[in-house]
């Protein structure tokens, strides 16, 4: 798997650290933390997920990847990515 880092270009996935589904947003209400910490949609198909380019530019990215094929359709800086 190669990830098209928007800063470094196409790089081997082993340079990155995986953080998982990018969609959960840290809640403000304590009651919402269970869902945020533990529950996942876990789709079979396109998934927007966080990858950290630890051995490269050290940017956090949002990568859109199909979990059925590992095909990557998009990679963008997490800061700029739409929530």
């Amino acid at each position: 798997m190669r990830i098209p880092c928007p800063f470094c270009g196409d790089r081997d996935a082993r340079e990155f650290v995986y953080r998982g589904d990018a969609s959960p947003v840290r809640p403000t209400e304590p009651a919402d933390f269970h869902d945020y910490v533990y529950l996942r949609d876990n789709p079979a198909g396109p998934l927007r997920e966080h990858w950290y380019h630890a051995q490269g530019c050290r940017n956090w990215l949002v990568v859109t990847r199909d979990t059925r094929t590992h095909e990557i359709s998009r990679a963008e800086f997490a800061r700029a990515a739409d929530r």
Partner: protein
């Protein structure tokens, strides 16, 4: 007796055309008392124990592909009960006890081989942790033996004892652990269930749930039509989130790919199951002679049933570090299976918030050893609506109440369990 030296000889002479089916392939009826979704080891075991232990025989097992085509045929066949936490150990030991009597119970050769599971330790801290786990096991009445370096050397002289970075200081041995023939486990449970009247329906994918006015599940929609049921149990590890989503449930589970490997067949060399404590590598030798080994999951969400090369390299490096002799063997095959990685690394056997729908999930990459007890306890839950006492901790709401069973202490990061 269906299989004997006589029937073998008779069929050898008649071109192997006289064998009867091991189990009866069925078409779905209109309704059942219980539908089990998933014809893997856990689903088939559940059906068999529903019929045998609880007299519930109006049962269907629905399988979207063919039985035993998922993770029960993709694992590395290791059975053990060397857990440290009180929520886990009684359950896995119950599974171990069921393994020990499984061939007699099923009248089927599942080739349980109690050759021993040896976890190597490589530092003082790891020895202390293993001693603690071994003591926890013994307090639960389970066998565990802490071996020093010389005892390990006598057992496995081929290990790399000269390694400077990760010196082998000893190991924790569970002598009753070992391996079993994984496909035979599926076939044996299928036959036991089928003989007691359970319908096993292949190529029947669940596409939705039937609900009544109160929202309770009253059956399933499938590619072969609607089937009503008093209760529906899910045993579809790997695809749990997808099936649960059909009922509107969101679960504390991610699907990840785990790869496994087998080498060409060699003469007997590795006498037991050996795990490398400084990396993640485990290995045993099958009765055909192949070295069966594996390591970490790939670490990213996947439903692909195949992994990537960095993990192949990592697993092989682990193998070379602990037993350099295997560098001479060639890898014959590798494959991937999809794991239900739960948020604390432990499984779920529980009712769901939806009446009529029951959940057996979250086995991470330890589901095979649990097959007999998982079926036993899930059948108990489906039949009695009460958790079996060895599985009472595997609740779905433990993530909300804080009663996590985090054997590895990694927190809510499924790719690290």
């Amino acid at each position: 007796m269906r299989y004997s030296i006589l029937s073998l000889a008779r069929n050898a002479l008649s071109g192997q055309r006289g064998w009867r089916s091991t189990w009866r392939a069925a078409q779905p009826r209109d309704g059942y008392d219980v539908i089990v979704i998933g014809g893997g080891g856990h689903g088939l075991a559940t059906a068999a124990y529903l019929a045998r232990n609880h007299g519930v025989t109006r049962v269907a097992v629905l399988e979207k592909g063919w039985i035993g085509g998922g993770n029960v045929g993709r694992n590395t066949t290791i059975i053990r009960s060397n857990y440290g936490l009180p929520g886990n150990e009684p359950f896995y030991e119950w599974s171990m006890k069921l393994w020990e009597g499984l061939e007699q119970a099923l009248n089927y050769n599942v080739m349980v081989s109690q050759r021993g599971v040896l976890n190597l330790y490589h530092s003082d801290a790891q020895r202390d942790a293993f001693a603690r786990r071994g003591n926890a096991m013994r307090l639960h009445g389970v066998d565990a033996e802490l071996l020093d370096r010389d005892a390990v050397r006598r057992m496995a002289p081929f290990l790399n004892f000269d390694q400077a970075r990760f010196p082998i200081q000893g190991g924790l041995l569970q002598a009753r652990g070992g391996t079993a023939r994984h496909d035979a486990v599926a076939w044996g449970y299928a036959r036991a269930a089928s003989d007691l009247g359970v319908d096993i329906v292949q190529n029947c994918e669940v596409t939705g749930f039937l609900r009544d006015g109160s929202g309770a599940v009253t059956g399933v929609e499938t590619t072969l039509g609607a089937i009503r049921a008093g209760k529906v149990g899910m045993a579809v590890a790997g695809n749990t989130s997808r099936v649960a989503a059909l009922a509107g449930l969101k679960l504390p589970i991610e699907s990840h790919v785990l790869q496994a490997f087998v080498s060409e067949a060699l003469k007997p060399i590795i006498p037991n199951v050996i795990t490398f404590g400084a990396g993640h590598f485990y290995i045993s030798q099958s009765d055909k002679g192949g070295l069966v080994f594996g390591g970490d999951i790939d670490g990213y969400n996947s439903y692909a049933q195949r992994g990537n090369l960095p993990v192949v390299e990592d697993v092989c490096e682990g193998g070379m570090a602990v037993m350099p002799m295997i560098g001479r063997a060639r890898v014959l095959r590798s494959w991937g299976g999809i794991m239900d990685m739960s948020m604390d690394g432990s499984p779920i056997i529980d009712r769901t918030p939806i009446p009529g729908l029951y959940l057996n999930a979250g086995w991470c990459y330890g589901g095979f050893k649990a097959t007999p007890a998982s079926g036993w306890c899930f059948a108990h839950l489906l039949a009695t609506d009460q958790p079996h006492h060895t599985a009472a901790a595997y609740r779905l709401d433990r993530f909300r109440t804080g009663h996590l069973i985090d054997e590895k202490g990694q927190g809510a990061q499924p790719n690290l369990h």
